[in-house]
């Protein structure tokens, strides 16, 4: 079991900040994520991020997941991408988490028990994406996810 970190960012809405894309090698699990903003806040209005499942990964800038233990090998069960230029095909009506966050603050979710972890299917091009639904007063929304494989 190894834990990897992957970061994505987005400056426009509605666009995806970070995708975690499965491979057929096995199931990985999302165990933690943090939503925050960098840059000058324009207005005191919340940004909204939705965590959704997708069945086609879209086009993103590749992100290399970094192991929290430097002796761990590179991630093999998933890939990550930031700043989508072509949106993933999200599963309609399935939103895992939907949060409005003040751009001067942050939001962090952590799975404490294994049952709480968000499991990704071992199906190629499937996975979860962090869709920046509303930019609000944020300048650049940062998503930092921890994935276990």
């Amino acid at each position: 079991m190894a834990i990897y970190a992957a970061q994505g960012s987005q400056t426009a809405a509605p666009k995806t900040a970070l995708t975690i894309v499965s491979t057929t090698n096995g199931r990985s699990r999302l165990i933690e994520y943090t939503l925050s903003n960098v840059g000058a806040v324009t207005v005191d209005s919340q940004f909204e991020v939705q965590l959704q499942r997708f069945t086609a990964a879209g086009t993103t800038t590749a992100v290399t997941p970094s192991g929290t233990d430097p002796s761990d090998p590179a991630a093999t069960l998933f890939t990550a991408g930031s700043n989508a230029t072509v949106e993933p095909t999200y599963t309609a009506g399935v939103v895992i988490d939907d949060k409005g966050v003040n751009p001067r603050g942050l939001y962090r979710w952590t799975a404490y028990a294994p049952d709480a972890e968000i499991i990704l299917p071992a199906v190629a091009a499937n996975g979860v994406g962090f869709l920046l639904a509303v930019l609000g007063g944020a300048a650049k929304v940062i998503v930092d996810a921890k994935i276990r494989q």
Binding site: Y107, W109, A116, A122
Partner: protein
Amino acid sequence: MKLALGYAESVDAYGTSTIVETLTCAHCGKVYDKPAPGESFGFCHMCFKAVCLSCGASTRCEPFEEKLRRLEQRQRFLDHL
């Protein structure tokens, strides 16, 4: 009862941190705030796990891992065509 517990921390514009317990629905995988005592909540009496309100309204027990297994099985079948 096994609780799929998680924690969510929100920090507001004034730096005030609020921590709430969350649950992950055993049927659809949705993350939701743990209901306070007295609040309505979802519970599956077949898999004996906490579920979200909309899944709790259904009489079917369809664990999320079973859905994943079916999805992966379907993909393996399609890959072999």
